[in-house]
Subunit: 293 residues, 2 copies
Amino acid sequence: MSDSSAHQVHRSDHPLRVSAGRVDLRAYPTDATPDFTGGKTEGKEALADLGSPLAELQERLFAQGRAGAPAPQRSILLVLQGMDTSGKGGTLRHTVGLMDPQGVRITSFKAPTEEEQAHDFLWRVRRALPECGYVGVFDRSHYEDVLIHRVRELAPAEEIERRYGAIVDFERELVDRGTVVVKCLLHISPEEQRERLLARLDKPSKHWKYNPGDVDERALWPAYREAYELAVERTHSDHAPWYVVPADRKWYRNLAVGRLLLEVLTRLDPQWPAADFDPESERRRLVAQGPVT
Amino acid sequence: MSDSSAHQVHRSDHPLRVSAGRVDLRAYPTDATPDFTGGKTEGKEALADLGSPLAELQERLFAQGRAGAPAPQRSILLVLQGMDTSGKGGTLRHTVGLMDPQGVRITSFKAPTEEEQAHDFLWRVRRALPECGYVGVFDRSHYEDVLIHRVRELAPAEEIERRYGAIVDFERELVDRGTVVVKCLLHISPEEQRERLLARLDKPSKHWKYNPGDVDERALWPAYREAYELAVERTHSDHAPWYVVPADRKWYRNLAVGRLLLEVLTRLDPQWPAADFDPESERRRLVAQGPVT
């Protein structure tokens, strides 16, 4: 059923899917393991088991993208957001790393450059969109422009307000063009963040991940939570829903994002493109060619 | 020894390294397994064993890149070239896939767009260079501009001639700036190519990889070989040497490229950057902060 559209791949009853309306993140667990009964060992095995079906579906998606116009022009955009230490990097390594890197395009959004600042906030995001057939992954994203920008007042209130609507329109446009948008909020508790920051201080090999500024941002936790709640509330939609992934347990976070990817790929159901040549006559042509050197 | 420079990471006695001077590719084996005595099973295990040391060194390189100016600004550029079916995609999946995708940037060069054609041939290549700390991988590269361009006469002879020198200068510039350039020619026999093309015709799930034009290119095998020989001869250098990787056996090809990557990373010897803060006082600050929510 290659007519399954990018709109229909999200299950409305997914256990991690955010509920429409007012969002209170304190009501979402950070250490639960919805839809999984095992522990860490089983979780890691379950993640490894996703590798093979993920690879097959991803290759079909990629093949479809290469085939060009006649096939549906599909791609996937995975958006990873979360507080510092919530595990965006770990998810890239362990979950995104399960896929064939040939078909994956990762973009890590940092503080915008001067050139980027001189454009609308979506300019750099549009330039980083995955081509058809690809799985694009955003490590941070256009959501920073309504998160840290709101908390740190890096833009006027009316502009932040405008951006919620602009994001909804933008994501609608992506989905209409065939991109499946999967938005994950990696949800950790402030206590877990503290442990992770302390762990980074303990090991010289982790010092490069530590930034004294993180402690200052951490002091603004309630303001960030509120900014996340607003962002999720205002941009959650049927075509681009938010998933809140309990992320205090790293293994569960990796597994949950992997399952989400597998689920949307399964529902997207990409097909091997039909040959635009006759395999039999190509075989004869090759054999008739004889040695070429 | 973090002063090891991007110049010194190539072993002059590496068994896959091309010899300076006239290159006759027919003298280079396509099915040998230099420096490896086991078979396929052992080869796959040996590749898997590279995962962990590769990951550690790659993370150090990445950490160094994040630390900015004081540390040496290092990156790696792996260039994959080879005839159709030589296994560029397989190398990406199996070998490049061993690394953390967060620190890898893959660029697949296709036929140039109109905009790219309106620029010098290196324009699009420069835009795809890895940032410091990253491992960039080129699936095809600027070498296409002296390979298919030569064989198919897509550029005048004087322009092709100019490009050899331009490539040498360009790669010298990269290495001087701290990028290790690793150029691999995935070397298959024409008989092996024929088998692989036939195998693609056998399976509907491989049809998307088959292009009838490949048979026409194949007919030009001797011209391509000559173009490769010239390209390698003219652009082989101590700072950016060519490696000819026997690629008839996929497992060996993957292992050989993986070992090369591990070798240059080991010789580059990236170090965890020193903290630019005092871990003890940061720990106190975090603990003193108390609960934040």
